[in-house]
């Protein structure tokens, strides 16, 4: 069904025709547009902070202009390259392992036969989403300590007894960090996939079942293609966001001896901008801008790729 839509090519229309035909569509877009411009675009003047020696009391238009100085400081910093590498690697794991987990879980949920059991599992899996990040990290620190319950379990399974968060070998920290995100978001993240799967027509399943397709086959041959647009959309969004969002909890998990694997662009900037006793807002803004630009590039890139190779599915 979704594919049908994508194969449909609108005939060339002139602007005049478009305006005449779609004015009410544009009118529906208007409220969101006005609000976004006022509440999101106008405040974007704050970005100039990245090029200033920003001081709150002097304001955005009174602070000293330093041009690209903050970017130079950032890129030439001793640990910047390592931090960038870690960010990219964590992002890659997030976009694969972290991305697939909720989808798999959604499939598993939709394969459950008992409605009651499904509902219970679902509700329970939402719980971690409600726990604040600080609590999650403190629990993780406790569980992965030398005598923590998870460490004990891993030791029983043959791993060396250690404080896992102090392990600075690649890729231990990366995986721990992504798994923490998976644990917290698997249930909540699966909601929209469960909802999408539920809209897949029963007729198709029925026909396939009569043809003797097994449940697994039906899942991969019918359900998966049907929710593919959804998956592609989420993937493109994820690639964009996973470079720049959500690294603050690393501040609570890393230690100087694991900076080599756990330091990210966000945490590195945080130390440089706020770690010395003073607040360097300009540097922090410059790093934020850099991350946004990379994220946007990634978003557009992944969208283009998915358009090209992903059956024509794309976000925009």
């Amino acid at each position: 069904m979704a594919r049908e839509k994508n194969q449909y090519k609108p005939p060339k229309v002139t602007w005049k025709q478009d305006a005449k035909r779609n004015w009410s569509v544009y009118a529906m877009y208007l409220p969101a547009f006005v609000m976004t411009v006022v509440l999101s675009y106008i405040p974007m003047f704050g970005i100039i902070m990245a090029f200033e020696d920003y001081e709150v009391r002097k304001g955005f238009f009174g602070s000293r202009w330093v041009g690209l100085e903050h970017f130079r400081t950032l890129f030439t910093g001793p640990d910047f390259l390592g931090a960038l590498r870690n960010t990219v690697c964590i992002m890659l794991i997030k976009c694969t392992l972290g991305f697939v987990a909720p989808i798999l879980f959604a499939f598993f949920l939709s394969m459950l036969k008992s409605r009651k059991y499904k509902r219970t599992v679902q509700t329970m899996s939402y719980l971690p989403n409600f726990v604040a990040a600080v609590v999650v990290t403190s629990l993780l620190v406790e569980f992965l300590a030398k005598d923590g319950p998870l460490t004990m379990l891993l030791t029983k399974l043959g791993a060396e007894n250690q404080n896992w968060l102090a392990n600075n070998k690649i890729p231990v920290f990366w995986i721990i960090y992504v798994l923490m995100g998976v644990w917290q978001g698997i249930g909540w993240g699966s909601i929209m996939y469960v909802a999408s799967i539920a809209t897949v027509s029963g007729d198709l399943h029925e026909a396939a079942a009569i043809d003797g397709a097994s449940r697994l086959q039906r899942m991969t041959k019918i359900t998966l293609p049907c929710i593919m647009p959804m998956i592609v959309m989420m993937f493109v969004l994820n690639v964009g966001l996973s470079f720049s969002v959500g690294y603050d909890s690393i501040l609570l998990l890393y230690m100087p001896s694991t900076y080599n694997v756990a330091d990210t662009v966000y945490t590195y900037t945080y130390r440089m901008a706020f770690g010395g006793g003073g607040n360097n807002y300009g540097l922090s803004a410059a790093s934020g801008l850099f991350q946004s630009i990379v994220a946007t590039t990634l978003l557009i890139g992944s969208n283009t790729l998915s358009k090209k190779f992903g059956d024509g599915h794309s976000l925009f």
């Binding site: 979704a2 049908e4 839509k5 478009d18 779609n22 009410s24 569509v25 544009y26 529906m28 877009y29 409220p31 969101a32 547009f33 609000m35 976004t36 006022v38 509440l39 675009y41 405040p43 974007m44 003047f45 704050g46 970005i47 902070m49 394969m111 459950l112 409605r115 509700t123 329970m124 719980l127 971690p128 409600f130 726990v131 609590v135 300590a145 923590g148 644990w183 249930g187 909601i191 929209m192 909802a195 999408s196 539920a198 809209t199 029963g202 399943h205 029925e206 079942a209 449940r215 647009p229 959309m233 969004l237 964009g240 966001l241 801008l289 946004s292 994220a295 946007t296 978003l299 925009f316």
Partner: protein
């Protein structure tokens, strides 16, 4: 017609498996694996919340020295943590405010997500630009101070508007809604248009009921997001306690207790507060959750029949 069938029976698998007489051995293995994996995920998800709940019912001093998961209350069972929280009746104001903000912001935000999502899903010449315009603010932001200055110019500082309106334009929701509209069968849309229905009518009567499945996900996300928000309130209504949402009261209680150990005669039951506040803040929404989800699903089905 086929639509009605599809929407009425939410649980297709049940119907199908009852139809197929003898599930194969492979199918059975798959079933068992699925049940086990789901059970494992549920268990892993439950553990920390259980830990928090049991800790909140423990004895403060014993809990301080306890490590590992609290499967049962550590030390004596107490309710001291909750006494500290509800000692101050202003937290009830917090519950009421949070409900107001959540309801208003979700309703308005849903309306905006639906209209904008619909607009972005149509084949218009500006489609790509419209999507980009909404997506960019997800990645670029001017920061707290410029936003504050805009809100101040609008005259919303110190009012409830500052907590309701800014949360309403969520690009993620709009994009999701756009996707939901995209996946509505083309024929339905065209049939409605040929019947002479305008865009708004087509959207609300024909398309939205079909897209309500993802719509309900948006509502859920919005409710939870609003329920947990406090940052906006701390910036825009810092001195108006009568406008504070629950989470801001909770943060204040937590902060007041952060240093209780520094006192010369610490009241160890204060250690429980950090756990009790989590329960107090999340229990209402967790309890309401299945009920809420049920209502939504029924709403979806009803919408499907009518549409």
């Amino acid at each position: 017609m086929s639509l009605r069938k599809k929407k009425i029976d939410v649980n297709d698998d049940k119907r199908i498996s009852s139809m197929v007489e003898h599930p194969s051995f492979g199918d059975r293995v798959v079933d068992v694996i699925v049940i086990l994996v789901c059970g494992l995920v549920a268990f892993c998800s439950l553990v920390p919340m259980w830990h928090v709940l049991m800790s909140s019912l423990s004895d403060g001093k014993t809990l301080l020295t306890n490590s590992g998961v609290a499967w049962l209350p550590v030390g004596e069972f107490t309710l001291e943590g909750y006494k500290h929280i509800f000692n101050d009746s202003s937290i009830l104001t917090g519950y009421i405010n949070t409900i107001i903000y959540t309801a208003a912001s979700t309703a308005l935000g849903f309306f905006i997500a639906v209209t904008a999502g619909y607009a972005m899903s149509r084949d218009t010449k500006l489609k790509g630009i419209m999507i980009m315009v909404m997506m960019l603010p997800m990645l670029f932001g001017g920061g707290m101070v410029p936003t504050y200055m805009v809100i101040r110019k609008l005259g919303w500082v110190g009012t409830r508007w500052a907590l309701i309106i800014p949360g309403c334009t969520n690009a993620m929701f709009m994009v999701m809604m756009m996707n939901a509209f995209n996946s509505v069968p083309k024929e339905m849309y065209e049939a409605a248009r040929i019947d002479g229905a305008g865009h708004f009518r087509t959207m609300s009567r024909i398309m939205l009921p079909q897209a309500m499945n993802l719509g309900s996900v948006i509502i859920l996300n919005s409710v939870v997001g609003q329920w947990n928000s406090w940052l906006q309130a701390s910036i825009y209504v810092p001195n108006k306690r009568n406008l504070w949402p629950l989470q801001l009261f909770i943060r204040e209680i937590t902060a007041n207790n952060e240093n209780f150990l520094q006192s010369s005669n610490p009241d160890y039951s204060r250690y429980l507060i950090r756990y009790a506040v989590i329960v107090a803040a999340t229990l209402p929404i967790i309890v309401l959750f299945p009920f809420f989800q049920d209502k939504l699903e029924k709403g979806v089905i009803a919408g499907g029949i009518k549409g």
